[in-house]
Amino acid sequence: MTNTQVPNSQVPPVRSRPATPPVAVRPSVRDRGARLVAALFLAPTVVGIVVFTVVPIIGSVVLSLFQWNVIDPPHFVGGANYRTTFTDSTVLVSFRNTLLFMVLAVALQLLIALSLALALNGRMPVWLRSVFRSAFFFPLVLSAASISVVMKYLFNQDFGVVNWLIGLVGIAPVPWLTSEHAAMATVVLVYVWQQFGFSFLLFVGGLNNIPKEIHEAAALDGATGLRKHLGITLPLLSPTLLVATVVGIINALQVFEQPYVLTDGGPGDATRTVVMVIYERAFEQLDFGEASAVGVLLFALIMAVTALQFRLSRRFVHYQ
């Protein structure tokens, strides 16, 4: 097997400070011009992020300290909204549901996407590969709400096609959307069906970037099948896997359309997610303060999970 790593003895020692003191160099006019041009190009994005992301985040944090029902002026309540949130069983259940949903959806999404990407990476006519790629990616460009409406019909216990199909092989109708146990599974299935195309494309790109020589060298050394994937493909694909996992988790923690349309959070609270609670508190119950508090907590959760992922990635992600 070809060793691509540089032996430690060959790595030059790293100096803590440069040997000579730095010389203060005034940037040239050309440098200043280039910086100005760069700043001009960046400005629209920065302004967009500040106006549409940073300001609303700060606004939400501020609003979470107020009681505001749209009709009357906001009234400062300090941390009361957070205290209510921590004792509100619906909010707590929605966090539990969202975390469960995230684990199930991301695991299933990555498993399906990776399996299909590996399968497509094998020998196959180019046109057929294109057909499969398009087919797997297609659901992602559709509206989640529209898909959920159609899926609601398909998974209807009494009149749905799914129960009709399983009925053909003698299986009793399943209450896909009206049973506490089946509803979450159905929401996960619908979500994964639509979302796995993104991870799939990432994995296809990542697999294409793995040098063929490494696989050939591994084959010469006798590595085959699963061993080759576990020992070579997965480590070399780990940066892609990290990106797919981070994006997948962030998206899953913000799931809304599928449970809202399919089950409206039910039965009971079985499929109620955090973003649904934010919507209900703000736009149905006119409690924008509590809605903001829940939003801030969700933001903190997403930041924490993402930070944890990047920390873990230092140990598990291998860059070539």
């Binding site: 050309r30 009709i71 009494d158 009149f159 009971g268 736009f283 149905e284």
Partner: protein, 469 residues
């Protein structure tokens, strides 16, 4: 390059960039472009009326606008059809407009929002109704007092009802024929209803469900609670309102009327409520009815018209829906909700609410009067997508094409059962609805879940009702 002197060429180039940028900025600033002030109806002095977008088609809205303009050429009118999936969604969008400082003058509000709007946003119509009593006498004579009472809050009138829908029972006559079952009598009982469902089940296939219902405030569990002589929240009447009843209604119709409904103490754990839930649970266990599914019942028209469902609760709005779905008048019919301890029905009504923030309240009142005229309502409710609040508009001609044969049931639900009342919709209606739907789903999702679910429902309802809106 470390030279700090600017070469001439560089200077010229950046000078050209600067001039170009200045020219671009100047052009952009002077460009004739759209701003927020260009949004139709905003700040142009028009009277703005917000309606639920799907309620009226564009041609109807245009006819409404032109008719008003002919009558009041001095009042510019703008009808803002807000697209929303249901009343809750509609109210959310209206409140967002209010928060944005672009509140309409009038909002079309259904029972679900009457008390919320009355308490926080609305203006009582009392002074105008008193002033124009002679003009309105004909309107009140044509509208059932129960509908009017449902638009009152704490003794004051906030809306003139334009339309309503009571939960009656629609029956697919093809399904009845297939099962060899008779059309039920007007005074059929809950047991007759159960027996009919069993009969239909025997005559239907494996993909047939005798009774379909949607888990929502209107037409869900509430009709069964009413039929069992109870309600989700303790119901009483506010004092007052005699000024209206004495002015417009004969003595017989004034009996028991007050200043509007009050819904206060939750009573989810009372025997009658539990009994109603147990009954529906037994229907679910026996495969006689669907499990509670949320939503607006969009898929119901399809499954009913194709014979996959035999019976479902709906109002006059469904006659038009079924006709659009291709059902012939002879294919279905309507009957009252079955009798249990009572045969009290539930309904929802809608009308225009005048907002406190409106600076054109006199003009808005003129629009309300215009909208309540029979000729206006006739233009507005051409198809049977709802039940007009005026009794005289329900006639054989209206239902000749769409059916049902027993169209009299729609208004007789009020005339024959004078205790028929509105769905429970206190100012905290959003939370109450959320709690109701949530625990109805839990109660009927698995066997023996009714008791625990209702106990949790009671706790959450108590919390919801304690909250100040």
């Amino acid at each position: 390059m470390t030279d700090s002197h600017l070469p001439r060429r560089t200077l010229l180039r950046y000078g050209a960039y600067g001039a170009g940028a200045a020219a671009l900025a100047g052009t952009a600033a002077s460009w004739d472009r759209l701003t927020g002030a260009d949004i139709p109806g905003r700040d142009d002095g028009s009277l703005v009326v917000a309606t639920l977008g799907s309620a009226f088609d564009p041609a109807t809205v245009e006819a409404l606008t032109k008719g008003f303009h002919r009558l009041h050429p001095d009042i510019p009118l703008r009808v803002n059809a807000v697209q929303a999936v249901d009343w809750s969604d509609f109210f959310a969008k209206i409140l967002t407009q209010i928060a944005a400082g672009t509140a309409p003058d009038l909002v079309y509000v259904a029972t679900e929002g009457v008390q919320l709007f009355a308490q926080r946003l609305g203006v009582s119509l009392d002074r105008w109704v008193r002033r124009d009593a002679a003009e309105l006498r004909e309107y009140f004579a044509d509208v059932h007092p129960s509908l009017v009472e449902s638009m009152m809050y704490e003794g004051n009138l906030y809306q003139l009802p334009m339309e309503f829908n009571a939960a009656d029972m629609y029956l697919n006559k093809q399904v009845l024929k297939r099962a060899g079952a008779d059309f039920p009598a007007a005074d059929w009982s809950r047991d007759d209803f159960t027996a009919l469902l069993r009969e239909l089940k025997r005559g239907g296939g494996s993909h047939f469900t005798p009774y379909f219902w949607t888990n929502r405030l209107w037409g869900g569990v509430v009709p069964w609670l009413f039929a069992n002589g109870t309600n989700l929240l303790k119901e009483s009447k506010a004092p007052g309102g005699s000024w209206l009843w004495d002015t417009f209604y004969p003595a017989a119709d004034r009996q028991g009327r007050g200043g509007g409904f009050r819904w206060t103490t939750p009573q989810a754990t009372t025997d009658r409520v539990e009994e109603a839930y147990d009954y529906i649970a037994s229907l679910v266990q026996e495969d006689l009815c669907t499990r509670p599914e949320g939503g607006n019942g969009n898929n119901l028209v399809g499954v009913f018209s194709t014979g996959h469902v035999g019976v479902t609760p709906a109002g006059g709005f469904w006659a038009g829906g079924l006709q659009q779905a291709g059902m012939r008048a002879a294919d279905y019919d309507v009957q009252y909700f079955p009798r249990w301890r009572t045969q009290r029905h539930q309904f929802g009504a809608a009308g225009y609410a005048l907002l406190r923030t409106s600076k054109k309240q006199e003009a808005a009142w003129e629009f309300i009067k215009y909208a309540a005229r029979k000729d206006t309502m006739t233009r507005l409710f051409r198809t049977n997508q709802t039940t007009p609040a005026r009794r005289s508009m329900l006639n054989a001609a209206r239902y000749a094409a769409s059916g049902p044969a027993h169209w009299q049931v729609f208004y007789d639900t009020l005339d024959r059962f004078p205790d028929t009342g509105p769905i429970p919709a206190p100012p905290q209606v959003a939370e109450v609805t959320d709690v109701l739907l949530k625990y109805t789903g839990t109660a009927l999702a698995s066997p023996r879940a009714v008791g625990p679910a209702l106990r949790r429902m009671q706790g959450d309802l108590e919390q919801a009702m304690e909250r100040e809106v």
